[in-house]
């Protein structure tokens, strides 16, 4: 495929960088059993807190060293990508579906429906999101599905608030009035005339939300409210490494870098998509 034949959004440098980073993380998650040098949960108490393989006293069997229980850091990182991506993908889609449906209902119908949904969002947003998800996790108990549920329940408001204003803008266009006058049903008007126009914004928000979900999952597992100790999680690795921060800084740096790179990938992708898909930006701003 030549450069010119590719869709415009694929030609953006930001989108490409974001996609490459995420492709790398997804590969780690999918092929974790083949890529990881060790079992991430296997403890080796005679080889605890080993430095990375290239440092003095490193062991080539543990490329990034071991933690205080002698578990392979690299293997934990690779397996940790599974949890991070599972949560990021499912939770963001869930939040998007709830938020987008309510946003379209509120923006399209307006009136008291809009008022009601708007007030619910206001009340929802007045809780600090991390506290709200912690409370939810306490109520729901640990487990991947509950982490996802907590994120969905907290973050649907982001989609709802931003999309609603976009829906209102599109709903006021004459072509929407024209479709109604030609006899389109509400359902058809929203799905055929309005939703396609809000789709670019939706994709952009989705990408940013995935980054947020990775961070929220890390926070929850850091405070031990995410999944059981038998599932490797980046937040948990950070929590474990706190005790030995001076003896083994790598234990702390590695998971933080993993979180950073993944979130960076999602954000760069989201920003690139926003620049290329948003019709309101002029050609020069896209640059």
């Amino acid at each position: 495929m030549t450069l010119a034949a590719m869709p415009r959004w694929l030609r953006s440098g930001r989108v490409l960088i974001g996609l490459l980073i995420l492709l790398f993380v997804v590969t780690c998650a999918l092929f974790a059993p083949y890529l990881a040098p060790n079992d991430p949960n296997e403890q080796n108490l005679i080889a605890t807190l080993l430095p990375p393989a290239w440092a003095d006293g490193g062991d080539p069997a543990f490329p990034l060293g071991t933690d205080s229980l002698g578990r392979c850091v690299l293997s934990q990182l690779i397996y940790g990508a599974r949890l991070a991506l599972t949560v990021a993908l499912i939770a963001s889609f869930g939040a998007m579906i709830i938020g987008a449906v309510l946003a379209h209902v509120a923006g399209y119908f307006g009136g008291w429906v809009d008022w009601l949904i708007g007030r619910i969002v206001d009340i929802w947003l007045s809780f600090p999101p991390v506290i709200l998800s912690l409370i939810l996790m306490v109520g729901l108990g640990t487990g991947v599905q509950n982490v996802i549920l907590a994120i969905v329940l907290v973050d649907w408001t982001r989609f709802c608030r931003v999309l609603r204003s976009e829906v209102i803008v599109v709903t006021r266009r004459d072509y929407v009035a024209a479709a109604r006058l030609l006899g389109f049903s509400h359902w058809r008007t929203v799905t055929r005339e309005i939703a396609p126009a809000t789709f670019p914004l939706l994709i952009t928000l989705l990408s940013l939300e995935m980054g947020v979900a990775v961070v929220v999952e890390a926070i929850l597992s850091f405070v031990g409210m995410s999944v059981g100790a038998d599932i490797p999680a980046w937040g948990q690795m950070v929590a474990d490494a706190r005790q030995n921060i001076y003896q083994a800084p790598w234990n702390l740096i590695c998971p933080i870098l993993a979180i950073f790179i993944t979130v960076f990938g999602f954000n760069v992708l989201g920003d690139g998509l926003r620049r290329t898909l948003d019709p309101r930006l002029s050609q020069t701003e896209r640059g």
Binding site: D174, Y175, A177, A178, L181, L182, G183, R188, A197, P279
Partner: protein, 618 residues
């Protein structure tokens, strides 16, 4: 000595290593106290000249040759520092969109003070006095109150006056007005134009007046320069250019806009469009050749130079003597419509709630007040009035986008006032609307075929092939190529979009069409094409139309009867010719007086519009 002089000025767009000429070999001389009109369709390069003066060319464009001298100094090569001192002081600008030229978050007073401080003509302590004096000069009433208002609290005409006051505050030697009245009502246009003339007389300012309206230019300008595709077509004294155009393009432009003179005439339909920047580059010969009714083989071999025609007039045509022979087609007579009534409104009113109040009835604003009218089969009825007169609200009531507060609406003998579900289906089948702005009325994400056959989609019928067939037939009917069916709206020109807009409304074969300002904002040549299309479609398939417009000449050309709306009321109605020849209501007279006359030598008596200053909402 000329204050502003262009000598073989050329501007070009450089892209991908090659230059596309946007303005070629432009020369003119403008003396102090004179008005130069720059006339042409959109894309002719009129605005480019204003931008060259300010050196605010769009990115990629640059001056490639010639000079543009202001008081003997070339603006193009002048040091930016020096030019900046000139701009806003010696050279002032009046923009096209007054509302977007003022900062919405600052009051008029704050903006006035800032402007006066920048031009440094008054001591800071006395800015208020100075501002009020300027407001008085532009006939703005209640100047002191105005200073505390925000731009959105003023009407477009008042904002434009504030900008004119600002422009003249520095006693500029040159004023550049880029379509200063296009976004305003006709009645306001007359006053704004008069104001510019007045200020020009007091201050001996030279004015560059950019407009697409040749008739307006002929009335107020001393000299007119007609531009076509970036090249001057004709340049000379305004009256001569208008009374006896030497270039076929000037003549065609004149004949393409409907007249207000005693005789109704047909419109000259200029085919196709002006060549774009890409096409100009490869053109040999006259740029107007493809659209010119007088074209001969020689026109296509070399570009005709500007040659003297008579007196001080030059034109770029090899056969200027043949121009006068271009005649408009005869006018189609207004139909004597006696058919059955298709639409009837009796006592229709609409109140809008402006403010809800606790324990009391909400405050309301009456947008339409007891409107009575009938629309007969195959009849075109025009609704005229200025913005805010309620004409668009009336249209929305008729199509069912709003429900009347009072009165009755009858469509084909059936009461549709209540707008219940069953009535909605009935109304939809027989009545359709064409929206004003094709940009907003066409979904940019749908192909043309999908847009024009939306009525079939709504009815739940039609396979892809059936719809494509129907779309092709409709496009053929409205004069677009069948290939257009697979394009997106962004790939069409403004005129083509408006045709698609009309085709969509016609798809369901309605008996009544409501058209809200569908030709405003389009070039006269495109406007002529569309008006012609509407008349032809009526002949071919038969339908009635409510045609809402602020342009009286268009209504006169197209409509059999006319309703004049003023502050929500229908103040006058009757056959178009009768109303226009012998208006009975004072407002109709004022409206008619604000239109520049066809004959350049006739005095434009705008004093009838004098009391309209009171009409503007403060």
């Amino acid at each position: 000595m000329a204050l502003l002089a262009a000598n073989n000025l050329s501007v070009a767009l450089t892209r991908g290593g090659s230059a596309f000429p946007a303005i070629s070999d432009l020369s003119f001389q403008l003396e102090p106290g004179k008005i130069l009109g720059l006339v042409g369709e959109s894309g002719a390069g009129k605005s480019m000249i204003g931008r060259t003066i300010a050196q605010l060319l769009p990115s990629g464009f640059s001056v490639t040759g010639g000079t543009l001298d202001f008081a003997g100094e070339d603006l193009v090569t002048m040091a930016p520092e020096k030019r900046r001192r000139l701009l806003g002081r010696d050279i002032a600008f009046i923009p096209q969109e007054p509302l977007s030229a003022l900062n919405p978050v600052l009051t008029i007073g704050q903006q006035m003070r800032e402007h006066l401080a920048r031009i440094g003509k008054t001591e800071p302590a006395r800015w208020r006095e100075h501002a009020l004096a300027m407001f008085a000069a532009v006939h703005l009433p209640h100047g002191a109150e105005l200073l505390d208002k925000y731009p959105h609290q003023l009407s477009g005409g008042m904002c434009q006056r504030v900008l004119i006051a600002m422009a003249f505050a520095s006693r500029p030697r040159l004023l550049v007005a880029d379509e200063p009245t296009t976004a305003l009502d006709v009645t306001i246009q007359a006053r704004i134009v008069k104001l510019i003339e007045e200020m020009r007389q007091h201050e001996d300012t030279a004015v560059v007046f950019i407009t697409h309206d040749l008739r307006l230019a002929a009335q107020i300008c001393d000299q007119v320069l007609v531009l076509y595709a970036g090249r001057p077509a004709e340049y000379g004294p305004a009256r001569d250019v208008f009374a006896r155009p030497a270039h076929p393009y000037s003549r065609c432009l004149q004949l393409a806009s409907p007249g207000m003179g005693s005789e109704r005439r047909g419109l000259f339909i200029l085919p196709e469009r002006m060549p774009g920047l890409q096409a100009i580059k490869t053109l040999t010969g006259c740029r107007f050749a493809d659209r010119c009714p007088n074209v001969v083989a020689q026109c296509r071999t070399s570009e005709p130079p500007l040659a003297k025609v008579d007196g001080e007039r030059v034109a770029a045509c090899i056969r200027p003597e043949a121009t006068a022979a271009i005649e408009p087609p005869p006018a189609a007579a207004h139909a004597k419509v006696t058919g059955e009534t298709v639409l009837e409104a009796s006592g229709v009113s609409k109140d809008f709630v402006t403010r809800r109040r606790l324990f009391r009835a909400p405050a309301t604003f009456r947008a339409v007040d007891k409107a009575d009218f009938v629309l007969r089969e195959n009849e075109f009825v025009g609704i005229v009035g200025e913005s805010g007169s309620g004409k668009s609200t009336l249209a929305r009531l008729v199509v069912g986008l709003e429900s009347p507060s009072q009165g009755r609406l009858t469509l084909l003998g059936r009461d549709v006032t209540a707008n219940r579900t069953s009535e909605r289906a009935f109304r939809r089948e027989h009545l359709q609307i064409v929206f004003q702005d094709p940009q907003s009325a066409l979904n940019p994400r749908r192909r043309v075929a999908g847009i024009v056959t939306q009525a079939m989609e709504a009815a739940g019928g039609g396979t892809g092939t059936e719809r494509l067939e129907r779309a092709r037939a409709l496009l053929d009917e409205i004069g677009l190529a069948p290939e257009t069916a697979l394009r997106y709206p962004s790939q069409l020109s403004g005129g083509q979009k408006q045709r698609v807009n009309i085709a969509r409304a016609l798809c369901a074969l309605p008996r009544v069409l409501v058209a809200d300002e569908i030709v405003s904002g389009l070039d006269v040549s495109v406007q002529a094409q569309l008006l012609d299309l509407l008349l032809r479609l009526r002949q071919e398939r038969g339908f009635s139309m409510l045609f809402i417009s602020h342009d009286l000449s268009v209504v006169r050309y197209l409509c059999d009867r006319v309703l004049v709306m003023y502050r929500g009321e229908i103040v006058e109605s009757g056959p178009t010719e009768t109303v226009f020849a012998a208006p009975s209501h004072a407002y109709t007279r004022a409206l008619l007086a604000s239109v520049p006359p066809d004959d350049a030598d006739a005095a434009w008596n705008r004093d009838d519009g004098g009391d309209l200053a009171l009409v503007e909402r403060a």
